[in-house]
Symmetry: D2
Subunit: 286 residues, 4 copies
C-alpha cells in the first residue's frame, strides 16, 4: 500500500503482443516507479485487461498532462482506459431509503480514514435518515418519488449530482429502482448492495424467499447498477451460515452485517481503482 | 459423541405443552440416560420437532420392543416419528455416472471409519466407474438408461435396492433425473449433491452459468430428492471464493472439493439421525 | 425466536439419569410451554449442562418466585444455575480506550433493537471517546489510570458499576489489563475482544505479529475475562483472509470488521443467555 | 488459465525503477505473448518480487536457452530468480507415516489431472501405506527411522530423491522431524501440512490442545519446511468452525478435510510456480 501519491491506469483492449511492455515503458521512460502492475486476459473474449500503478514522485509528466500523453498509446491499441490519482479523492453521493445501517457504516469508515473520498451528500426518497446525515454534517437531500414525479425527481437528482461533481453514487439500501435513463448517465459509477447471493433471490424480499426455501446460507452482493434489475457486473459477494433456528428477523439481522461489509469492500475497491468492469463481469485487481 | 450404543427418536407433531417432558419421561422411566435432547418449534407452522438420544446400556426395554412401547405416546400427540440405533449401521447405495471424486470420497471416508454404515452397492448408468467400485470390493451394477427403457431400468434398480435392504441412496454426481415414481418409494432417503448454491443455477450446467454471470463465489448444495428437480429440502450448503482468473475448468476443479465435502457432511448428518425433514425444509440437530 | 416473554434456566451439574426430565417437569407441572431445551454432556468431566427456555405466559409461578421454587431441584442435583428473563433487559457498561469502532458498533446495534439490554454507561481510561457517548446520550466516565492510581481508580469503577446495577461489562478494545481483584467481582460477566485468533498472538500487538509471521488469515476472539491475560473461556472466533499485499495497516483495517462482529455476536449470545461457561470453556446453545 | 505451453519467471531483487519494463521487454523483444504479469513490492524490505508468464508458442528463444539469455538481466538487477515451464511436469515425492487421507487425496487429484506433475515415489517411516501406493502403481520406499539410524536413513532418502530427480517433496502427514541437513538440500522445495492454524498449537498434538483450550475454530497450515519446526514460510491456511459438541475425535475428523484441501492448494500453487518465498514469508501470485 503506497503512502506516496500514485497514478493508476485501468485499460482494456483486444489482446496482442507488446501490451505489458508498452504500458510499463510509458511509466519507465518518464522516470516513474511502478508499485504494482497486474494484467488479465479473458481468452474467450480475446481481451487484455490491465492495471498499472506508479508513484507520481519523480514522474516527469505533470499530473494534468498524463492523460494527453498516454492518449496516443491508447489509440494505437484501441484501449478503453481511465486514469486515476490516489491523492485526488472522489466525491461520493449516498442514496438511502429508511434503513440506516449501511449509511452509518460508510460514514463511519469514511470518518476513520478507512474509506477515502469525500461523502458530499446523502439523497433519499424518505425523510427518515436526515438526522443521521446531519449528525455527521453531511447535506441531506429529500426527493420523495412516486409514479408521477419519478422522471422529474430523478432529473433533479442528476442535476444535484452534477453540480457537486459526484464521481460515485452508492445505493446503500436504496429501495427504489433507478430508471435506465438515470443509470446511463453514470455507467459503472453506481454501486448497489443487494441482500442476497445473486443470482438467487432477485427482487425485493430475498430474506423472506431464503427463509421459505430453507437455505443454510444467506448472502449479499455488491454490483454496478445497469438498467436490468440486479443484473449488473458483480464486484463482491459474501455469505453467512444460518440454521432452522433463524427466523426471518434473524436473517435480516445477520444480513445487515453482510450488507455493510460487502458494500464497503466494493466501494473501497472502486475508490482504489481496483475494479475494471467489462461486459457483464468485473476484474478485481486485489 | 457417545461411544456407547444409543437409541435416537426423531419426532415432529403439532406443538403443545408437555411434549419435552413426555419424551424425556419415556426414557427416564425405563432407566435410560439421555445423552442429548434438543427441540425446535416452527412457530409459523405450529410444529414441534425434537431429537432425543439415550444410551441403550441399562435401558429396560429391549431394542426391538422400543418402537411398540413408544407408539402410544406418538399416537397421543399425533407424532410423525422414527427410531434409530447408533449400532445398527444403515445399508447405503451410491449412484454415480462418470465423475469419480464423490464416489472415491465416500468410499474412503467409509473405509476410514469416519462415515458409518455399509456401502452395499454402486449403481451407475455408465460403465466407467466399475473399476473404482471393484478396487474397494463393492458390487457394481450397470443400468444404462435411455428414454425407452427408463421405467423398466428404474424398476430393476428399485428391486435391487429392496433386495439389499438399502436404507439410504446417495446420488454422488448421478447425472440422470430420477422419476417421481422412483423418488416416492424412498422419501427423505435419497440425498443428492447439486453443484451450485441453490436456488441459484438450477439445472445441469451451473459452473458454466456461474462463469457467464461473473459471480465471485461458487457453491454446492446437498438435499433430499423430491419429484421436483433441485427443489428438495436442503441439508447442507457451502461456498468458495473465485476470481476473474478462474476459467470454467477452474470452477469445476474448485467445485469438486465443495461437492465432496458438502455431500459427505449431509450423508454423515443423515446417518447420525441428525436431520429431520419437514415440509420443504430440514431441521439439522448439530 | 419467541416474541413472548420467556424464562431461561442455565444449569450445570454432575451427570446422572433424570436430569432432563426433572428440568422439563418443573416447567410442565407449572403449566409452562418449553420453546427450547438443549443439553450437552462433557463426558470427560462427567458434567451435564443444559439450557431450558419457556414462555412465561400462563406459567403458574410468579416471576419473582421461580428461583425459590427451583432451588430445591437445584440442590438435589448439586447444580450451578442461573435464571434469566427475556423481558428483563440487562444493564451494560462498555469500557473503551481510544478506538471507536466497537463502541459505535455496539451502540448502533443497541439503538436498532438488534442488541437487547440497556447501555447504561461508557467508562474509559482516555477522554477521546466522550463525544461518541454523548452523541448517543450515554453517560461517559473518565478514569485515567497509571501504575500508582490503578487500584484506587478500579475501586471507583466498581462502585459506579454497582450503583448502576451493571450486569455485563464489555471491553470494546479497552487497552488496559484489569486487575484480578476487579475481574473476580464479576465472574463470567466481563466480555473482551482480542484482536487475534487465540491462542495465537497473545498480547498487545497481534496484527504486527501476524504481519511478521506472514500468516494468510487473521482472526478475532471474544471471551470472558479471567485473571489470566487472553486466557478466558472463548465465546466466539472468526477469521478473514489476507495476502502479501496487505500491510499492517490493512490488517488493522480488516481486523476492525472482525473485532466488531465477533464481539457483537458474543455479547448477543450472552444477553440471550445462550452461553454457559464451565472450566476453561463455554457451551454455546445456538 | 493458458492451455498453451508457457514459461514462467519468478524473480526477487532490490526494488528500483525499470524492473517491470525490463522483464516485459525480455519477453516482447523475443516475440513472446505475456499471459500474466504481476508484481509486488515489500516496502519494508525494499524488495521487488515478480512473476511473468508468457506463451512459448512463437517465442524466438529455444526453451533450453532461455535461462542463459535471461541471466545478464538477472545479474544487472541482482535478482534471485527461477525459470519454470508449464509443460515440463515436476517429479514429486510424497512422504507419509500412517495416516492415508492426504496421500489418497494427492494421488487422486493427480490421477484426475487436477494436480500436474508426476508422483514418482512414496517414502515412509512405516510400512502401513504401502498398499495405497501399490494400488496406484507408485513405488513405495520404506525407511524405518530411530534415533540411531536417522542420519543414515535420511542419507539414503536423499540419494533416492536425487536419483529420481525429485523437484518437490510433500510431507503428507509425515510424523517425523526432518534434520536441518536434509532440509537444507531442498530449500523451498519441501511442503508440509501442519494440523493447526499456525502459530497456534505448534507441535505434535494440536487437536488435543485445541480441545483443551476450547477454541471455536480449528485450522490447518501448509508451509515450506525450514530447519525450525513449524516455522517455515506459510503458503496457505484455512479454518473450520467447531462447537462444544465436538470431541477430540470430531476435531481430528473435521481436520482431515482441512489438511487435505490446505495441502493440495499449496502443492498446486507451487506446481504452477505461483509461490515466491522470501525471508520468512511468501508471495502467492493467485
Amino acid at each position: 500500500m503506497p503512502t506516496e501519491s500514485t497514478a493508476i491506469l485501468l485499460v482494456s483492449c483486444p489482446d496482442q503482443k507488446g501490451l505489458v511492455v508498452s504500458m510499463a515503458n510509458f511509466v519507465f521512460q518518464n522516470n516513474g516507479n511502478i508499485v504494482h502492475a497486474d494484467n488479465h486476459i479473458d481468452a474467450e473474449m480475446g481481451l487484455f485487461l490491465m492495471r498499472v500503478e506508479w508513484e507520481l514522485d519523480g514522474f516527469q509528466i505533470a499530473k494534468d498532462e498524463i492523460a494527453a500523453r498516454f492518449a496516443p498509446i491508447a489509440e494505437q491499441f484501441k484501449m478503453n482506459w481511465s486514469l486515476h490519482f490516489s491523492d485526488r479523492p472522489q466525491r461520493i453521493a449516498i442514496m438511502v431509503s429508511k434503513y440506516n445501517h449501511c449509511l452509518y457504516d460508510l460514514v463511519l469508515r469514511n470518518a476513520s480514514g478507512e474509506l477515502p473520498g469525500e461523502i458530499a451528500l446523502v439523497i433519499s426518497n424518505h425523510i427518515d435518515l436526515e438526522p443521521v446525515a446531519k449528525q455527521f454534517g453531511i447535506p441531506f437531500h429529500f426527493f420523495p418519488i412516486n409514479r408521477e414525479n419519478k422522471r422529474e425527481q430523478e432529473q433533479k437528482e442528476l442535476e444535484i449530482l452534477a453540480s457537486h461533481e459526484i464521481g460515485l453514487v452508492v445505493l446503500a439500501r436504496y429501495m427504489q429502482v433507478l430508471s435506465a435513463e438515470f443509470v446511463s448517465t453514470m455507467p459503472n459509477r453506481i454501486i448497489n448492495i443487494h441482500h442476497s447471493f445473486l443470482p438467487a433471490f432477485i427482487g425485493s424480499r430475498p430474506y423472506h424467499q431464503a427463509y421459505e426455501r430453507g437455505v443454510k446460507l444467506i448472502g449479499a452482493t455488491s454490483h454496478y447498477v445497469t438498467e436490468h434489475l440486479d443484473d449488473g457486473p458483480i464486484i463482491e459477494q459474501d455469505v453467512i451460515g444460518i440454521s432452522h433456528r433463524d427466523s426471518v428477523e434473524d436473517l435480516i439481522r445477520k444480513g445487515r452485517d453482510l450488507e455493510k461489509i460487502t458494500l464497503a469492500r466494493a466501494v473501497l475497491l472502486h475508490l482504489k481503482s481496483r475494479v475494471l468492469p467489462y461486459g457483464k463481469k468485473t476484474v478485481v485487481f486485489s
